[in-house]
């Protein structure tokens, strides 16, 4: 994995390029650099790698994020899964409109080339200005002057893409790419669920993430159409074992025990699909479950503090598990209520089921009743959904005391293929080629 190699070389990379990560060039200054984008990505990634290892020292973490460094696009795995979680999200699910397999492949290639540029902080195509006055520019331009902002773009394929009679992929559908069951309490809106393709755009600057989805949608018109999309802010989990776990919209730290982006053994065990898992083309990939979880914010806010803490199984201030002093103290599950969220979600309660969470808070204004339309846009990556999300969600849907205050309103599952290796490779090559 590229990230790790760079992490190993962090000392020398950083030493050899003083100030680079701290003064990452803006998109505009990148114009005309052309082939320099890759080199820059590698240099900037030095900064990102520092962040990954920054468990004992907060300073490099801050400087990497503040520098808006670029995350390398190429690698054995797609960036945006184990990558240190960025602050902002724009997630889009697409319907494929074309019936032509070759056209779909062409689109994936076009998307890959655009993603290479954007994640390196460059505008797509010929850029946003300076072209023919009579024609619209290739890039819409709102990310000019902004830094790469650790933008990652991650693509996934939904079960419907493998349907019979569409692209001849029915034999390629992995068993692990299941049709998710309807869990008790689900109130799923088809207009916020499913999709043939998805793109997860994460960045530290929301404008950079939105810009990326906008360009891909534009490149895709006629071949794909956005089915639904979700903006997210305030990451609700962290893949860097730093001191603080971010809080969700209920004010709680949730997701303390997440897989670290540098824990290769855990990633291999729980996140990355292995060659032994069945579908060869998925080796190095992962399975993504996306759930839009609406929170009944107003009633939650009226719940007594004790009830809130009991529901989660943590205290609200420190985030420590029941009976413990510190957030990262090992929880004693039996001390919690049998319906406590942490207890039910814990691997020990689910035969070791472990997922990598990358969720974000969302607020889409208010609904027609004046209630905050807010909640958690839950994103979880795992090697096999049947051993990851499904058993955990079955357990939660049945017993979780939190269910009184939340409702799952959108749902989707995607097979996230392995990474794009180099400039000649493209998203989905292992599936289509």
């Amino acid at each position: 994995m590229a990230d790790e190699k760079l992490a190993e070389n962090t000392e020398s990379e950083s030493a050899g390029t003083p100030g680079e990560a701290g003064s990452s060039p803006s998109r505009r200054s990148l114009l005309g650099w052309g082939g320099a984008g890759l080199a820059l990505g590698a240099v900037a990634a030095g900064g990102a790698a520092v962040a990954l290892r920054g468990d004992k020292d907060d300073a490099p973490m801050m400087s990497a994020a503040a520098a808006g460094a670029a995350v390398p696009f190429h690698g054995a795995h797609q960036a945006g899964v184990a990558t240190a979680v960025q602050d902002r999200l724009h997630f889009a699910a697409f319907d494929v409109k074309t019936k032509d397999r070759e056209e779909l492949i062409r689109l994936l290639k076009d998307w890959t080339r655009a993603a290479e540029r954007m994640t390196a902080g460059q505008p797509v195509g010929e850029g946003a200005f300076g072209g023919l006055p009579e024609a619209p520019p290739d890039d819409t331009g709102e990310a000019l002057d902004l830094k790469p902002s650790r933008l990652t773009l991650t693509v996934g394929f939904g079960p419907s893409l493998f349907a019979k009679g569409r692209f001849g992929l029915e034999a390629e559908r992995p068993e692990a790419l299941v049709d998710l069951e309807t869990f008790p309490g689900d109130n799923l809106d088809p207009a916020r669920s499913g999709g043939d393709l998805c793109v997860q755009a994460c960045a530290d600057d929301p404008q950079v993430a939105v810009h990326a989805i906008r360009q891909l949608a534009r490149i895709g018109f006629g071949k794909v159409a956005i089915r639904w999309s979700q903006l997210g802010f305030g990451k609700t989990s962290s893949t860097t074992p730093d001191a603080q776990t971010p809080r969700n919209m209920m004010g709680f730290k949730d997701g303390t025990r997440n897989i670290s982006g540098t824990d290769t053994a855990a990633l291999d065990k729980h996140v990355w699909v292995s060659a032994k898992d069945g579908a060869d083309w998925m080796t190095g990939g992962s399975y993504l479950v996306a759930r839009r979880i609406r929170m009944h914010i107003e009633t939650w806010d009226r719940a007594p503090l004790q009830e809130q803490e009991d529901i989660f199984g943590r205290d609200k201030g420190e985030g420590a598990p029941v009976g413990k002093a510190k957030e990262h103290d090992e929880p004693f599950l039996k001390a919690m209520l049998p319906t406590a969220h942490v207890r039910l979600a814990h691997p020990d309660s689910n035969n070791g089921a472990t997922i990598l969470r990358r969720g974000y808070s969302f607020t889409d204004g208010t609904d027609g009743l004046g209630r905050l339309d807010a909640g958690l846009f839950f994103l979880a990556y795992q090697r096999d959904v049947r051993k990851g999300f499904i058993p955990v969600q079955r357990s939660l849907a049945k017993k979780d005391a939190l269910n009184e205050y939340i409702q799952h309103v959108g749902s989707a599952i995607f097979a996230v293929p392995p990474g794009v290796r180099d400039k000649d490779d493209w998203w989905g090559r292992t599936l289509f080629a």
């Binding site: 409109k97 009579e134 024609a135 018109f221 006629g222 071949k223 159409a225």
Partner: protein
């Protein structure tokens, strides 16, 4: 319609109008003498004789004499069919003068005995410096000329339909007026970017209630649409508005041939037609009372397709992948639209209020699929 938006077409048309006015006013006789005096045009019932086929750029004067038996008119045309100058209503035996400011290039002088048809045409050449005139390919000139003919034809065909619609309103026949309403708009919708280029006509005939400026009187099609479908009554005011609509459209019909049209304005006009669909029709805002949005929708697509087909010979040489994509997407959108009408020749489309949310999304997707590549047509033509 979008009165606030000054399209490429509008801007250029305004400029052309200004040039024409000042050009006529300021030049002295000395320039005429450089050309050896006025160019004599002798109009007959079966001939249009011109004293010289070649003259110098600048201020020119045509001395016209009608020696025929019919009332005639004389035009000076650009090679793309645009009118440089015209003189109407020249009775038998009468003499008239026509002046114009012309740049070097190829032109045509036409006499129209009986003031009908294409007239009898003579090619003329204007010589001199041509630093201001960008050379265009004859293919593109032909495309512009054909599009100009189309635009005029649409205006001409609209008039009897609009007159019939107005007559029904004036008779107080609500049902008959409702039936004629959408069809009376079709020619306008097909050529909307050109129609809109006359900034003074568009706000009179096609403004929606939500587009009115403070103090602006609401006139035109949509005002009558509301009377017919919402208020369900026709009073003296509506009858007067119907008459006014015909007057305003007659103005459009007379002036539409003078619009400045270029290959890129045609291409971007086609894209603008799809923009009209994307912002107004697909949401159901355009025909809020009659719900005849799909007829306008079809008209916009037809107009865009006409402009595209005329530019295609050039565009397909410069960017074959683009024209292939456009062919596919025009076909896809037309196929989708066909699902909403009885047969492929009928303009009776499903009422838009009966088009569900999912179907609207499908239409919107198809519009985006076409409009995005269409936005690249101007570049393919300008290469």
């Amino acid at each position: 319609m979008r009165p606030a938006r000054l399209s490429v077409v509008t801007a250029v048309a305004t400029l052309a109008a200004l040039t024409a006015v000042t050009g006529c006013a300021e030049k002295a006789d000395s320039k005429d003498k450089a050309n050896g005096g006025p160019i004599r045009v002798t109009a007959k019932d079966d001939a249009c004789e011109v004293s010289t086929k070649e003259f110098k750029a600048g201020h020119v004067e045509l001395a016209i004499e009608n020696k025929g038996s019919k009332v005639t008119e004389v035009y000076l045309f650009f090679p793309d069919g645009r009118i440089v100058a015209e003189r109407e209503n020249i009775g038998p035996g009468l003499k008239q003068k026509l002046t114009a400011e012309v740049k070097p290039g190829e032109y045509e002088i036409a006499c129209k005995p009986g003031m009908k048809g294409d007239g009898i045409r003579q090619k003329v050449t204007v010589t001199g410096d041509s630093k201001a005139v960008a050379k265009r390919s004859p293919e593109l000139d032909a495309a512009v000329a054909a599009y100009r003919t189309y635009v005029q034809q649409q205006a001409d065909e609209t008039m009897p339909k609009a007159t019939a619609f107005a007559a029904a309103v004036e008779k107080g026949d609500i049902e008959a007026a409702k039936k004629l309403y959408a069809d009376s708009r079709l020619g306008w919708e097909r050529t909307e970017p050109v129609a809109e280029s006359f900034g003074d006509i568009d706000p009179k005939v096609d403004v929606r209630e939500d587009g009115l400026e403070q103090g602006q009187k609401w006139t035109g099609w949509h005002r009558l649409e509301k009377a017919l479908w919402q208020d369900k009554k026709i009073g003296a005011e509506e009858k007067a508005l119907a008459e006014q609509l015909v007057t305003d459209l007659t103005d459009w019909q007379k002036r539409v041939g003078t619009a400045e049209i270029t290959p890129t304005s045609m291409a971007n006009g086609a894209k603008e037609l799809l923009d009209e669909v994307a912002t107004g029709k697909v949401t159901g805002e355009e025909e809020a009372y009659s719900h005849t949005d799909l007829i306008d929708f079809k008209g916009n697509v037809e107009g865009a397709q006409k402009a595209y087909e005329l530019l295609k010979p050039v565009a397909s040489k410069n960017d074959p992948a683009l024209t292939k994509e456009l062919d596919t997407q025009f076909a896809a959108l037309n196929t989708l639209l066909d699902k909403y009408r009885k047969d492929k020749t009928s303009y009776e489309f499903t009422s838009y209020e009966k088009v569900g949310k999912d179907q609207r999304k499908e239409l919107s997707d198809a519009v985006n699929a076409l409009a995005e590549p269409l936005s690249k047509l101007a570049a393919a033509v300008a290469k």
